[in-house]
Symmetry: C2
Subunit: 366 residues, 2 copies
DNA sequence: CAGCGAAATGATAGCGCTATCATTTGTCAA
DNA sequence: TTGACAAATGATAGCGCTATCATTTCGCTG
């Protein structure tokens, strides 16, 4: 069965058996490793032709390509990405930097990115900056050292150094999550300030006159949402700083309840609560229910992001829908287009938002 | 200011300015790139010494090390990981393969992994298999081609090919999420079957006689939890297959409500619901509330995983606490130990679980 | 069937780093 | 001071692949 054996560049004869070999010595490993040269030798072509057949099949004749593919299959050849990256001076890596992996918002965005990248040659690599600009800087450095094809990064608020690194970077960049005027390259998101302002307007329209705002984890986007609330209140001439209750602690449902408790002890006449995210909103709702406060009659509750559970809650909770999965998908699509030479027509997209009015703020009906 | 300029191997003189150069041509890029040779020349040592100073500082004299560090800093040298991987035949990458990035369970595990890896030299790389064994296989291949130092993979149910690849792999492997008898290498998790069985026992102890079970996304772990429920019911002589309602759709809070609706239309006398995860449990609770069904008096509800919101809900929801972050942390620690030569004493850890009894099943008190 | 341009293939020379072993320098006891 | 040994450093030779350009083969026209 000659077809089941072959001799590699070290004059080492392989049999099917070789697959089962176990050996810890580096040298042995290397001798055993199947390289592009092995494939070339078996297929009676040059290494270069094998390389082409694998990366640009259209540059190789059909006959040759099929022959090579058969050998690749038979030997189980897998290209070494390190060697490829070194020789080509670039990779198919697209780095994605998000501030949190536990926050549903970012996992939805990631889902969109993964889905859109499916079937493409791009390899997604996730970095978690844990809301730390320093960690973000470290990640950018790490990613850039890998010569990625592209970088997807969250937000507008990079450190000065990070910004300098990104501006000088030779790869394409998509900023996600927010809208702003000076993208490094491309951008897709929405205005957190406007979204929050619109949500506050909605509360006012529903007849609430003393709306409060609770917020946790004061990252830049939270801050801008808070600012949207402030602006809307000032516009209506009802701004009262006592009605803003915040904490630097990360958001949880429990925390939502605690912030409401804090809020109501300070300003008991509050008649609506704009929650900076949906976890807080859910916690706020539970806390109100525990206190026997009627929702939406006595207090209205509005969340932010419109996670799936908002519609299922009892009462269902009004929230600001943000298009997270779409943001992920489109960011990846922009990246793919840019890297494929079809420069996207619009490189700075505002996805907007949508106020999903539900029972928790529908006082009129009642 | 000679100190601010230097001449690289292409006899190209750098100034601080060079950092701002923009040029799309590969050749220019390469000429501009600072390499280990550049550092060596500036520091009057060999490239090898620079390499050592950066990777094994203790193998280089203090004086030399400091000199090199200064040059590295001044030139902004960053090693090329591709070249390093190619020359060394290995990397500091630890691949992590999880079936979902949106599921809170896995994001908690990831958080633990990230936290534990902080400050170490290991570079975490996340892969998302989307509950597909084929995608998992593709990911394993991709990771292995990168010669990772280690692989962290979820569950016991790999495809045959994947299993063969993992067994033959030269890197360390930690399996997470479950307990089993034949790890590829190391393992840490808990028994989903036992956890679910214990939860069912709890319901029976609370006096519930007609407990049902709802489940979505029938992955292997869900199936084993279902099996735990079945076993417990059979042991009590009350098993009734009509009380199991499942769907292949992924879990959501809304779906929890729908499954309960379905369940109650089929077997209205159900007096407790074991939910295969906490999202379903929350949805089940909302649906019961909407129908005016008293919890825990008429129907008891128990979740699985004990996400943070379970304790905050109203009523608070009983759930099976699983030690997800600890699992992430410990898996990474085992990996680190194994790679650092301190072979862990126990290589197959059962983290157990804990029934967190709360209002939603505390009928006795009432 | 010659001759031409395009398509297909090959030869060569690195990419930037590290394993290995050789050489130099330093340290300390006798 | 000398010699023996360890510590520090260096020279060399790739790792496996691809960019580049040279060469060969093919398809077609006149």
């Amino acid at each position: 069965m000659i077809a089941l054996s072959f001799v590699n560049r070290h004059n080492f004869r392989y049999y099917r058996l070789a697959l089962d070999f176990h050996d810890n010595y580096l040298k042995w490993l290397r001798i055993l490793k199947i390289t592009i040269e092995d494939v070339a030798r078996e297929a009676n072509v040059s290494a270069m032709t094998v390389s082409r057949a694998l990366r640009n099949p259209e540059k190789v004749s059909t006959k040759t390509r099929e022959k090579i593919e058969a050998v690749v299959e038979r030997l189980g050849y897998v290209p070494d990405p390190a060697a490829s990256a070194l020789a080509a001076g670039r990779t198919n890596v697209i780095g994605v930097i998000v501030p949190s992996v536990t926050n549903n918002v970012f996992s939805d965005v990631m889902l969109g990115i993964y889905e859109q990248s499916e079937g493409s040659k791009w390899q997604i690599q996730l970095g978690n900056s844990r809301y730390s600009p320093l960690e973000e800087e470290r990640l950018v450095r790490t990613f850039l050292s890998q010569k990625p094809a592209g970088l997807i990064i969250s937000g507008l608020d990079q450190s000065e150094t990070t910004a300098a690194l990104l501006k000088a970077a030779k790869c394409r960049i998509v900023q996600i999550m927010e809208c702003g005027s000076a993208p490094y390259d491309m951008m897709i998101g929405f205005s957190h300030l406007e979204a929050s302002r619109a949500a506050t307007h909605h509360l006012l329209e529903e007849g609430y006159r003393r709306p409060a705002c609770i917020s946790a984890r004061l990252d830049p986007r939270s801050q801008r949402r808070l600012e949207g609330y402030r602006i809307a209140c000032r516009e209506a001439g009802i701004f009262d700083p006592r009605r803003i209750v915040t904490t630097p602690r990360p958001s949880t449902v429990t925390l939502g309840g605690e912030l409401v408790a804090d809020l109501l002890s300070k300003v008991p006449d509050t008649d609506a609560i704009l929650c900076n995210n949906d976890d807080l909103a859910l916690g706020a709702m539970f806390e109100c229910q525990r206190r026997g406060i009627a929702i939406p009659e006595t207090i209205g509750i509005c969340g932010f992001n419109d996670l799936e559970m908002m519609a299922a809650a009892n009462p269902s909770i009004t929230s600001v829908r943000t298009h997270r999965m779409e943001m992920g998908r489109k960011s990846m699509q922009m990246m793919d287009d840019a890297l494929s030479g079809k420069e996207p027509k619009v490189s700075n997209i505002d996805l907007g938002f949508e106020i999903m009015v539900r029972e928790s703020t529908s006082r009129k009906k009642a």
